[in-house]
Point group: C2
Chain length 217, copies 2
Amino acid sequence: MTAITETANRKTRGRPRVFDRDDALDKALMLFWAHGYEGTSLSDLVSATGAKAPTLYAEFENKEGLFRAAMQRYIETFSAQRNAVLNDDGMDVKAAIEAYFRATAACFTECDKPAGCFFICTSSALSSESQEVAQMLSRQHHAQESALQAFLDTRQARGELPACANSATLARYLACMLQGMSVRAREGANREELDQIVDTQMAIWPALAGYCELSAA
Amino acid sequence: MTAITETANRKTRGRPRVFDRDDALDKALMLFWAHGYEGTSLSDLVSATGAKAPTLYAEFENKEGLFRAAMQRYIETFSAQRNAVLNDDGMDVKAAIEAYFRATAACFTECDKPAGCFFICTSSALSSESQEVAQMLSRQHHAQESALQAFLDTRQARGELPACANSATLARYLACMLQGMSVRAREGANREELDQIVDTQMAIWPALAGYCELSAA
């Protein structure tokens, strides 16, 4: 944050003065996603967005504000797309889970953006000075697990899962698998490799969905 | 690396001159684990180890050399402990996998050290300038999956897994779950939460171990 004035006048000469907020956010999102919160400097953000530092400052207040807005953009663009699958009543519970995992595998490995989940990539190397950002990311990340649990609850109420199945336990297990897939994507796994993990999970789905803590199916 | 001379004479006055290599490595390991490779400066390493910068330089050449030695220390201390479980012939395949996952859950959540897996924590936010470190970490990380696969192959040869089970696919699935557990630990999950994920996995183990790609069990 302290660097904002020193970086204000570099590399921005001759750029158009019209500020496109969504375009700037898309570019900021890609930078944060690839390099993390602390690994992205205001100078990097100024270069990438083509905006002048005072413009970014006026619009987002500081780096944290810009990060928050970029995160919101990620949620609207990528998370919402995946979550839509869970609300598709045309699919049974197994088909919906499979579609959700395949959409996630695709999202984590698409070539035109950084690999893995934005929340995981940006949260892993935060120092203790960035506690507020860490909490923001953790909250969003837990929202994914809650969305899965709400989906499972709905389907259980409809009789698509055994009454004894524990939706919280199952959602946690599934979320853990998604988080592992993000790590693998970040380390270079391609879509095919992630899809193979999804194949295994879907092959054992009957055991997973039918697992009851009191009396194992 | 370039900062080594400027940090040489700070905070080290009056410290004992005897250099304890293992102790220095333990301290460097904790710093890298908590803050990542790029998030740890030579100045931080000098402060934490109590060694003078020229001593560190003479012993490890540069930050990358110190990181490599710290990683080796992690492998000898933490990875070896967990891998020993896989070589315990007194346990059947299910008991050994469960013991391995419980040991990992414990390792990821012990209070006296940073949460999660060292390889994942340090690799997530590496910039493109640290490609060599990224490859080093990725190799070590894949070694975990290879160790799991070798274990499954041995047990399959003894008839403890169906002949049609695919050890590579199963090892990949299990490794993905371990990676997810690391992410969760990093975000604050405690031992109990990780153990609950292990409970679910072990409850469905018969389906997982018996899963054959050509003809599902």
